[in-house]
Amino acid sequence: MTPPDLRVHLLLFRLGQARFAVLASQIETLRAHDASGPARWCHALLGFPAAPSYRAPTEALVSGTWIVLDAMEELLDIPLEAIRPFPDLVEPFSLRRGLWGILPNQGQLIFLVDLQQMVKPDTILQPDPVAHSKLV
């Protein structure tokens, strides 16, 4: 049982039809998306087969790298124990993708991503030109 004061702040955002959350502590600041800027697309970091449609693209500065997120919805203050780990079967795979837990919320599942890990140099990818063109 986790002590009641062990709580975390999660920043909820959407990417396509899926809902994601990132620790607020990983994000240094937020800004509006600048198409001309050197940002990395979140779906590319997560290894989406195709670029989803971004409704409100926003750039988050994580470990010195601007990452394009979409539809930030909420900043949740939740107890750490509300976060569930991935099943063992998929955990190694998910950890490689930067996904480290699941948060059930209002009947839906929110995937927790580790953006700092994802933007490490050995995992940096180029922006997806297809998704970028859809934003224009």
């Binding site: 702040h9 607020a24 502590s25 600041t29 937020l30 800004r31 509006a32 900043l75 203050d77």
Partner: protein, 553 residues
């Protein structure tokens, strides 16, 4: 000699005798008048002057006696002297007039003696008066004695005047006798001349009357014989004189010859007339039958024309009704054209209003788009605000417990931003709906505008058609009016024709009656021609003229 010359000669002789008698009478009358004039102008006036002279001398002697009787009063003596002198002056004036009239030497000598005697008396009287004024003579007796020698002369003058007066009376008596003799002579001459003129005029009148009456009686006998006798036109007048009666007889003989020839021709014509009168009678009899048939036919025509006139009256009434209907149709068509024009005007107003609404709607769409732009800006601001709120929340979260309140504020700001975004999204949706509505309105208005334009076109076409209808109705109305007028004229003409045919019927009846009368008259004419023929045969004509007349007959 012609009668006119004979009458002129007789009148001239009468005139000559009248002038002769008148000239003799005038000559003798002038002689008597001259004698009488001398008697009145000279002798009678001298006798009168002598009497006046004697009266003046007596007056002078009376003033002389009065002066001597009043010798004691010198003023009265002077007064009588003045009056005596006035009479003396008149005496001298009378003597001057008598000297002018007197022509005989004896009378002139006598007047000279009288003048001298009066002058001596004047001298003596003035001398006596001088002595009276000197006082040398102071009594009447002395004065009479002094003037005595001078008064002898005045007595002599008075005697001379008396003798002269007696002589003048004797002269007057003698001259009066001369005048009586002259008047008697004139009367005798004039009566003799008048008697002679009457005798000569009577002889001439008898001769003239006898020369005129004899041929006139012969003419009268012949004319009466021709007129009242057996009408023997073979006789002639035998008077062969060169005067006017001879010319009248020649003219009468010529007239009888012409009359003889004319009556011969009349006899021929009368026979021909007798034959033609029979033919006319036959023709008139035939014409009488035809006239009766004609009268019957004309009566039938009159009846037919009356029916035709009645039909024309009905047609005129119907055409009048047609004109009234046409007028009503024309009025209603005009009203309809006016209403359609009003409708067109209303449609035009609606079209203009619709165009204005369309412009306003388009402008509203434009404004909505501008609002959309503003809403995009607001949305952007809200996104920025939300982003700032997220950043603030992140900062608050990193601050731990200290940033908890700040996190609440950031959360509220973020919610506000979300609300703004939601509101802007809702507004954008509403604006989109408005724009859709505007677009639909624009499209609908464009459709409506098109329909209105079609309606305007239809209205214009309707107005054009109505105007054409109006023109046609006007033409129809005019035509109906013309038809009505023509039918009225036709009715009047039919009535006139009926009246004329009635007159013709009346005329045909009169003609039939006249032909009947003519038939009887023709019979009478035929009878009269026979009578005339019988009458003409009563004239006795020359053999040649009688032959020509019977030949024609």
């Amino acid at each position: 000699m012609k009668i006119s010359k004979r009458l002129t000669l007789g009148f001239g002789l009468n005139l000559f005798f009248l002038v002769l008698v008148g000239g003799l009478g005038l000559h003798e009358t002038n002689h008597v008048a001259a004698i009488n004039n001398h008697l009145i102008e000279v002798d009678a006036k001298l006798s009168n002057d002598a009497q006046r002279l004697r009266a003046n001398i007596n007056t002078m002697r009376r003033f002389e006696k009065d002066a001597f009787l009043n010798i004691g009063d010198l003023s009265r003596v002077k007064d009588y002297q003045r009056q005596w002198q006035e009479v003396r002056d008149r005496t001298q004036q009378i003597l001057g007039e008598m000297n002018k009239l007197e022509t005989t030497p004896e009378g002139m000598g006598n007047l000279a003696g009288i003048s001298k005697s009066i002058a001596d008396y004047d001298k003596g009287f003035k001398e006596v008066l001088g002595r009276i004024y000197e006082g040398k003579v102071s009594s009447a007796k002395a004065a009479n004695e002094t003037i005595g020698p001078f008064k002898e002369n005045i007595h002599g003058a008075e005697d001379a005047i008396t003798n002269s007066t007696l002589k003048k009376d004797q002269t007057l008596a003698r001259v009066n006798q001369d005048v009586q003799d002259a008047v008697r002579t004139v009367r005798t001459v004039m009566l003799t001349s008048l008697l002679l003129a009457l005798v000569i005029s009577g002889i001439l009148f008898y001769r003239l009357l006898h020369s005129i009456r004899q041929p006139l009686e012969a003419i009268e006998l012949l004319v009466v014989d021709i007129g009242q006798g057996e009408g023997d036109l073979s006789r002639r007048l035998n008077y062969r004189g060169r005067d006017e009666l001879g010319a009248i007889c020649s003219g009468f003989n010529l007239f009888v010859e012409h009359l003889n020839r004319i009556i011969g021709m009349v006899a021929g014509v009368t026979a021909e007339l007798y034959i033609q009168a029979d033919s006319i009678a036959a023709a008139v009899s035939m014409q009488s039958g035809s006239s009766a048939e004609l009268s019957s036919s004309v009566a039938e025509i009159a009846s037919t024309m009356e029916e035709l006139s009645s039909s024309a009256s009905q047609v005129a009434q119907h055409s009048h009704g047609v004109v009234a209907r046409a007028d009503e149709t024309l009025a209603e068509t005009r009203v309809g054209a006016g209403e359609v024009e009003n409708l067109t005007a209303r449609i035009n107003d609606i079209s203009e209003d619709l165009q204005a609404n369309l412009v306003a709607i388009v402008e509203l769409g434009s404004k909505s788009k501008e609002i959309n732009k503003i809403m995009a800006i607001i949305n952007n601001i809200a996104s920025q605000t939300k982003l700032i709120a997220f950043n603030a929340a992140l900062e608050a979260a990193s601050a731990g417990e200290a940033g908890k309140r700040f996190g609440v504020v950031a959360l509220e700001i973020r919610r506000l931003a979300d609300n703004v975004v939601e509101s802007t999204a809702e507004i954008e949706g509403r604006i989109t709906e408005i724009l859709d509505t505007v677009n639909r309105l624009v499209m609908s208005s464009e459709k409506t505008t098109g329909r209105i334009m079609e309606g305007q076109e239809h209205a214009r076409h309707t107005v054009h058609v109505l105007n054409n209808v109006l023109e046609k109705v006007e033409e129809s109305t005019d035509a109906a009016r013309q038809i009505s007028l023509s039918t009225q004229q036709q009715q009047i003409a039919s009535n006139q024709v009926v009246l004329a045919i009635k007159d013709i019927v009346q005329g045909a009846r009169h003609s039939t009656e006249a032909i009947k009368k003519m038939n009887s008259v023709t019979g009478e004419v035929s009878k009269l021609a026979g009578n005339l023929k019988a009458l003409v045969t009563t004239f006795k004509l020359d053999a040649a003229d009688a032959g020509s007349g019977s030949g024609q007959g």
